[in-house]
Symmetry: C2
Subunit: 404 residues, 2 copies
């Protein structure tokens, strides 16, 4: 598997685009994205576990019941959630996209992101759709990625390529994150495409596995959004033999999908609201992978750890504290902690107690923009990574006055 350019349109047969349609007041920020496949696709999706679910999720769930889709429409600037006519409007978006692309409305994945609890104006979507549909291209991935952004500061697109049974297949995707990010079986918004031929159940299983170890290991602020949606479309145009869960090539496909998702997950975490650095919680030596995942996530979710990392302060006691309240059985007297960045590695705690270290060196290591918090539990071979970011003045600023 290798990383390539092209994002959500790297795979054969996919085109995409984005534009400003008028849902937002700020005309310089695009707010409507579309992705389209030349042929109908096998499709699967995972969604937020929040009981409050965005109206688009209800509609997308219905549309994907037959495991088939051909396009995605997504707006930013309004979550179309907690209002009175959300489902009706979400379905209208499918009809509008279907008409503009000349496909059934039932084959459209719809998603929205932005403020919760406001009525979605549908006219801007209606008026812009034909023009947007006509503009879709193989070069449109970045435009689509930008149009789904909210407080994100950079667009997030990734693609990979691998050989499956002698055929070259590609997978790509775009995602948006930034705030209200603590995904649970889904992520904020992520649309993936592939030209591999994959059977529905195999596609479904592949994204569930990939999401468990990637997007579900991201937390920016502990708030599980109402609109988390990750959808994947597989159009089969690479010409490979149809992948099922028993295919010899299936593990390679799953691995590539996980690699793609991991890269996007890191990008989400690094661009968390107000973040100045990516934090990777790396837990090893756990009794099980599940325990490792729980501990890793507890560490990168701790407000105190996050604030200490913002200040490049090697306050490892807070790491131990977060391990202790993670809710899983851990022998805290065996825990080692160290910090790693491109400036080096510094051990700070051994066997649950502090060890002497140079504060200057720690400061130098923690000042980098990607920091690993390494936790060795000495209890087995389970491991996990979780992705987060520091807690900064800008997080407070952005969220103290998001709506106005």
């Amino acid at each position: 598997m290798k990383f390539i350019d092209g994002g959500v349109t790297a795979a054969e047969g996919f085109i995409a685009g984005g534009m400003y349609c008028g849902i937002r007041h700020n005309r310089s920020k695009p707010d409507l994205a579309m992705i389209y496949s030349q042929v109908p696709c096998a499709a699967a999706a995972v969604y937020t576990s929040n009981l409050v679910k965005g109206a688009p999720i209800q509609v997308t769930k219905r549309n994907l019941k037959n495991g088939r889709a051909q396009a995605v429409i997504c707006n930013s600037g309004n979550a179309n959630t907690c209002n009175f006519d959300g489902e009706e409007k979400a379905w209208r978006m499918c009809e509008i996209a279907g008409k503009a692309l000349n496909i059934p409305a039932e084959d459209v994945v719809v998603a929205s992101t932005g403020v919760i609890g406001q009525v979605l104006p549908i006219e801007p979507v209606e008026q812009a759709a034909p023009q947007l549909a006509a503009s879709l291209s193989r070069e449109g991935s970045a435009a689509a990625a930008r149009a789904i952004m909210t407080t994100d500061t950079v667009e997030k697109e990734v693609a990979v390529e691998l050989e499956l049974g002698g055929k070259t297949v590609r997978l790509g995707g775009i995602a948006k994150g930034s705030g209200m990010i603590h995904p649970n079986m889904g992520t904020m918004l992520c649309f993936l495409t592939t030209d591999a031929a994959v059977a529905g159940p195999a596609l479904d299983q592949a994204i569930r596995l990939a999401v468990r170890d990637t997007f579900n290991m991201v937390s920016i602020d502990g708030d599980t959004s109402t609109n988390d949606t990750l959808a994947i479309l597989a159009n089969g145009m690479a010409g490979n033999e149809l992948l099922t869960e028993s295919s010899a090539d299936y593990p390679a496909f799953c691995e590539a999908l996980k690699g793609l998702c991991a890269r996007l997950a890191r990008m989400l975490a690094k661009d968390g609201e107000g973040a100045t650095k990516l934090l990777v919680g790396k837990v090893t030596g756990a009794e099980t992978d599940e325990i490792a995942r729980t501990v890793a996530k507890s560490v990168i979710c701790s407000s105190l750890v996050k604030a200490a990392m913002f200040g490049a302060d090697a306050n490892w006691g807070r790491v131990l504290c977060a391990i202790g309240y993670a809710g899983v059985e851990v022998d805290v007297n065996r825990v080692d902690v160290s910090f790693t960045s491109r400036a080096g590695t510094i051990p700070v705690c051994r066997g649950g107690a502090g060890i002497a270290f140079s504060e200057d060196e720690a400061k130098r290591i923690l000042t980098e923009d990607e920091v690993d918090i390494n936790v060795e539990l000495h209890a087995g071979s389970g491991s996990a990574e979780a992705y987060g970011c520091d807690l900064t003045y800008d997080y407070v600023k952005i969220n103290g006055d998001y709506r106005t």
Copy 2:
């Protein structure tokens, strides 16, 4: 029951004090507190659920096995946790206090708060203890309250008085909070005293019930501390008939204790690190009290709700979002939300959807320093209150560089 002055020395027979001993560098901040009862007391305590437990907790647990204590010693500036000789030092503190007060070391409750993972210097305690012991007085509650503060900005002391079987009994206490506050069967640090005569099991049961609805409903940053300890000493000097769980007066005593704890819990939340306002999550109409407690705590724990409240932004969608991921079954389509402060009440959401409201009026209401977030679930008669605070620039500032 009525609130009175006197704090932890309001009850007959208790004296207290605090001073600077030298654990901290800053000589203007006292760092050693003592509380003493003229006669031995029935005693009970609850502690953090964090697996990483401060060394003083291990020693206090041992000392309270016989349900008896006569004094408290507590330092701030160093948590005496996650180091190699913590228990030895904690026991030394009991010996030092015991010697200074002429009581057995086993009858001393010991606690520490401050930075985790550093070795506690015992010499300052050793040198200061005789002078501190000699200075204890009925007027010393505030001095003791100040000496246990870390990033707290105000000392926290409360006392109440009630009649039990014709005798006037008093309960009082001091507490400290500020950061790493998400108590779970205990709170950061809280020492309570009463001159009521209470049997050990009844005292234990009374504080467990009180804590469940008060301190365990506080969250400042979601981080459960390693050193949470709440201890109560009952010396019986009020002369009432010994209270047991079947005494007619027992419910009144429990109610007074809960009222005392609730007042301290609100004080903790309002003085949360960096806080500009107290947030009270008030949930009504839940199927059970347990569901109400879970929902109330989820709302006041949400970083996004907290940041919105800092900005006086009526972003109720975040309240709904936090209800949705609380992890309990709630029909989100029946939820009403309103905000209340001394400036008035404003409904913002009905039946899970937004309703029209004046942003100006909302801003005026949310600008006050105590704000209730009211959530009506329309599913039963369960209710609960949770106590938190807003998330501010100062929280980040304080915690970005706490150690240095």
